[in-house]
C-alpha cells in the first residue's frame, strides 16, 4: 500500500516529507520501546510510536525504515526532524491516540479481516 493512503487514513500531518512519500508500505509496527522498534523496523515498515526523540531517526536510518509516525499529536524534538531530513525518512504526526491510529491503519491495510496481522 502506498504511504500516502496510510497517512490519509489517520489524518496525519507530514512534518518531514523525506524523499519517499510514494513508498510501498507492507506492514506497520507500533510500540514505545526502542529495542522493539529497532528489531521490527524494516524497509517496508511504518513505525508508529508515541516517542518523539531524535534517536527514532537513528533507528529508522540504520534499519532502512522509510517512515515514522508519531501519535497523540506529539511535538517532535527538532533534532528528530533534522536527523530525519538528513537520512530522508518521512515523519508524520497524527492527533489520534495510539489505539485509534492503529485501529485505522489496521483496517486500511487489511480491511475487516482481523485474523491477519
Amino acid at each position: 500500500m502506498k504511504l500516502e493512503e496510510l497517512v490519509e487514513a489517520i489524518d496525519a500531518r507530514v512534518l518531514q516529507p523525506g524523499g519517499r512519500r510514494t513508498t510501498e508500505i507492507a506492514r506497520v509496527f507500533a510500540g514505545d520501546k526502542m529495542s522493539a522498534l529497532l528489531e521490527q523496523a524494516g524497509p517496508q515498515t511504518m513505525l508508529v510510536t508515541s516517542l518523539a526523540n531524535s534517536q527514532l531517526a537513528c533507528v529508522a536510518e540504520i534499519m532502512d525504515c522509510p517512515v515514522l509516525c508519531l501519535v497523540d499529536g506529539a511535538e517532535p524534538d527538532p533534532n528528530l526532524l533534522e536527523a530525519a531530513a538528513r537520512c530522508e525518512t518521512v515523519v508524520v504526526v497524527s492527533a489520534l491516540d495510539m489505539f485509534e491510529a492503529c485501529g485505522r491503519l489496521h483496517r486500511r491495510l487489511y480491511g475487516d479481516d482481523f485474523q491477519r496481522s
Binding site: 520501546k33 524494516g42 516517542l51 536510518e61
Partner: protein, 527 residues
C-alpha cells in the same frame, strides 16, 4: 579483512547512534547481505546504546573476516553486578531519562544475543563491561576456513618428501612436486615446518590480514612467546630485544607463558578431584587437535579450560593488543577467537624484521650481570603425578598408551608438540634449550596475576577422519581401500606423493585427485 574502531561517548543521547551509523556505511560498501546487515545493526546499536545509557565512554571495535563479522564493545563504566539478571529480558537499571526516551526496556543484551551467532558478555564492577558478538556473513563458516594456520609456499618445494614422513596424521601429499595439505586431517603441529629445509611451510603472513595503515604495529600491549626474546644470538640479550620492542611503541609486553603457568597450576588442582586419570592439560593447541582428530576417546579427559593464548585474548583490557603466534595451531585459535578490531595478529618473522634495525649489541656476555638470578633450566618436576612431555612423536606415543589405559598412574599429562614447549617451535631458529636458558638467565621473569578461563565450547571429535558422512558408505569405502592397499607394493616409499600405500589407496578411493597411481605397481595389478 578490515579493522575499525568507533568511539562512543557515554551519557550523550544527542549524538548516540553515530557509531552504528558509521558502521552501516562501511557495511554498505562491503556489500553485506540485507538480512545479515539487520542483525549486525541490531547488535551494534543495542550495544552502543548500552554504553550511552550506562557508561562514561567506550569503543565499538569491529573486524571483518572473509566469513564473519566480529564486534566488541568495551566501556569504562560501572560494570554489571549480576550478569545473569542483566541477561533476563525486562531487567534494566537505566535512568529515568533513558526510559523516557524509550530505552531501558531491558531488551538490550537479550537482543544482541538473539542477533548474534556467538555472543559473550563479561563485566567487572567498577571497571566496565565488554560485549563480544560474532555474526557469520554466510550461513555457516566454511569448514575449509577453519584450518588455515599453515601456509604453503609451493614454489619452494623441491619434492624431497621429508614432510610426508614427518606428518603424524598423514595430512600431506606431494603432487607434481607441490605440497598439499589435507586440511581435514591437519592438526597444525609444526612437524612439517620443522623438517622442511626449503621453508615451504610457514605461519600465514599477517601483513595481508591487517590493513596497510595498521601494519605499523600500533598496539598498546604486545603478547609474545618468551622464546621470541631469545632468538637474536648470544650478543643480544632478552632485555635488549624487549627494549627494541618498546621502542616500536608497545607500552606493555606480556608473555603467553604467564597464562601457561597459571593453566598448569589450575589443571593440576582440577586433576586432583577427577576420578578418570590422567587429565590432559590443554597447554598445546596442536596436541588438543591431535586428540580431537585421532584419539576421540580421550576427549573427556581434556581439562575444560582454554589454551594459554586464548586466555591471553580474554584478559581484561580496554587497550589495543597485538599477538604473536608461535605456531599454526595458535594462529588458527587467534583467527577464530572472535577477535575484534582491537586486536592484531603478528607473524613472528614480520616482527623480527621490524625490530632488527633497533637491536643493539650489548658489551659483555648477556648473562654476566644476571648470574645471581640465574635459575636451573627447568626446576625439577617435584610432582611425580605430572608427566611433562614434548615432541610430536612422543605425544602420539603417550596418547596411544593413554588410550589403551596404560597411563593411569599419571594424574596430569602436559603434552606439547614442539620440543621443549613453545621454545622449540620451528618458527624460531634458536635451539629450544639455549632459548630457554637465555630466558631464565635474563631475570625478566615476573609474577603477574592472570586468570585462565573455562573452555567456552566443549572439545569435540573432529569428523575430518571419516571416509563418508554416511556410515554404510564409509564401510564400503574402507573395504575398497583395504583391498587396494594389498595390491600395492607396501614399501611406503612416497614416490606417488602419498606418505604410505594405504594413504594412496585412500586418495584413490576418495578421489582426492584424478589419475593417481603407484609408479611401482606390479604388472597387471595396476590400480
Amino acid at each position: 579483512m578490515t579493522n575499525s574502531c568507533y568511539p562512543i561517548a557515554g551519557g550523550k543521547f544527542e549524538n548516540a547512534g553515530s557509531a552504528s551509523r558509521r558502521l552501516k556505511e562501511q557495511l554498505k560498501q562491503i556489500g553485506v547481505d540485507g538480512r545479515i546487515m539487520r542483525r549486525i545493526m541490531i547488535a551494534a546499536y543495542e550495544a552502543e546504546m548500552n554504553v550511552v545509557i550506562h557508561a562514561c565512554k567506550g569503543n565499538l571495535w569491529v573486524r571483518f573476516d572473509r566469513d564473519r563479522f566480529n564486534m566488541e564493545v568495551i566501556d569504562e563504566g560501572p560494570g554489571i553486578a549480576d550478569l545473569e539478571l542483566a541477561m533476563k529480558p525486562g531487567f534494566s537499571t537505566a535512568s529515568a531519562e533513558a526510559k523516557q526516551l524509550g530505552f531501558g526496556a531491558g531488551m538490550g543484551l537479550p537482543n544482541i544475543k538473539k542477533a548474534s551467532d556467538l555472543f559473550e558478555v563479561d563485566s567487572h564492577v567498577g571497571k566496565g563491561t565488554r560485549v563480544r558478538s560474532t555474526i557469520y556473513l554466510k550461513n555457516q563458516p566454511a569448514e575449509q576456513s577453519f584450518r588455515r594456520g599453515l601456509a604453503v609456499e609451493e614454489e619452494r618445494c623441491t619434492g624431497c618428501l621429508e614432510c610426508l614422513k614427518a606428518c603424524p596424521t598423514r595430512a600431506l601429499r606431494v603432487w607434481n612436486q607441490r605440497p598439499h595439505v589435507l586440511s581435514s586431517l591437519c592438526i597444525e603441529c609444526t612437524a612439517c615446518i620443522e623438517v622442511c629445509r626449503w621453508g615451504a611451510f610457514k605461519i600465514p603472513d599477517t601483513s595481508s590480514s591487517n590493513p596497510p595503515e595498521q601494519t605499523a604495529m600500533e598496539a598498546h600491549t604486545l603478547v609474545i612467546p618468551r622464546a621470541f626474546l631469545t632468538q637474536f644470538g648470544s650478543k643480544i640479550p632478552p632485555r635488549a630485544v624487549l627494549a627494541a620492542l618498546r621502542s616500536l611503541g608497545f607500552k606493555d609486553v606480556r608473555y603467553t607463558e604467564e597464562w601457561e603457568k597459571e593453566l598448569r597450576r589450575i589443571v593440576r588442582c582440577y586433576a586432583a578431584q577427577q576420578e578418570q586419570q590422567p587429565v590432559i592439560s590443554p597447554i598445546c593447541p596442536a596436541a588438543i587437535n591431535l586428540i580431537e582428530s585421532q584419539f576421540p576417546s580421550l576427549i573427556p579427559q581434556i581439562a575444560p579450560f582454554v589454551s594459554p593464548i586464548e586466555a591471553a585474548v580474554e584478559a581484561w583490557s580496554t587497550e589495543t593488543a597485538a599477538f604473536v603466534s608461535a605456531c599454526p595451531s595458535q594462529h588458527t585459535l587467534l583467527e577464530h577467537s572472535g577477535l575484534s578490531g582491537r586486536f592484531r595478529i603478528l607473524n613472528p618473522a614480520d616482527l623480527s624484521a621490524r625490530i632488527f634495525p633497533q637491536l643493539r649489541i650489548e658489551a659483555g656476555t648477556p648473562c654476566s650481570n644476571q648470574k645471581r638470578n640465574a635459575r636451573p633450566v627447568r626446576s625439577k618436576n617435584q610432582n611425580h603425578g605430572v608427566l611433562e612431555a614434548w615432541g610430536v612423536k612422543n605425544v602420539v606415543e603417550i596418547l596411544e598408551k593413554a588410550e589403551g589405559g596404560l597411563a593411569g598412574d599419571f594424574q596430569v599429562l602436559e603434552l606439547s608438540c614442539c620440543e621443549n614447549g613453545c621454545y622449540g617451535t620451528p618458527v624460531f631458529d634458536e635451539n629450544p634449550f639455549m632459548a630457554e636458558q637465555r630466558w631464565s638467565a635474563s631475570g625478566l621473569e615476573r609474577c603477574r596475576a592472570v586468570s585462565v578461563m573455562s573452555a567456552k565450547r566443549p572439545y569435540l571429535a573432529r569428523t575430518g577422519m571419516r571416509l563418508d558422512p554416511d556410515m554404510g558408505k564409509a564401510i564400503e569405502k574402507l573395504a575398497l581401500i583395504e583391498e587396494l592397499t594389498t595390491s600395492l607394493p607396501g614399501r611406503d616409499c612416497g614416490a606417488c606423493g602419498a606418505p604410505s600405500c594405504s594413504s594412496l589407496a585412500e586418495d584413490i578411493v576418495l578421489e582426492r585427485r584424478p589419475s593417481l597411481e603407484c609408479p611401482f605397481a606390479p604388472e597387471g595389478k595396476d590400480p
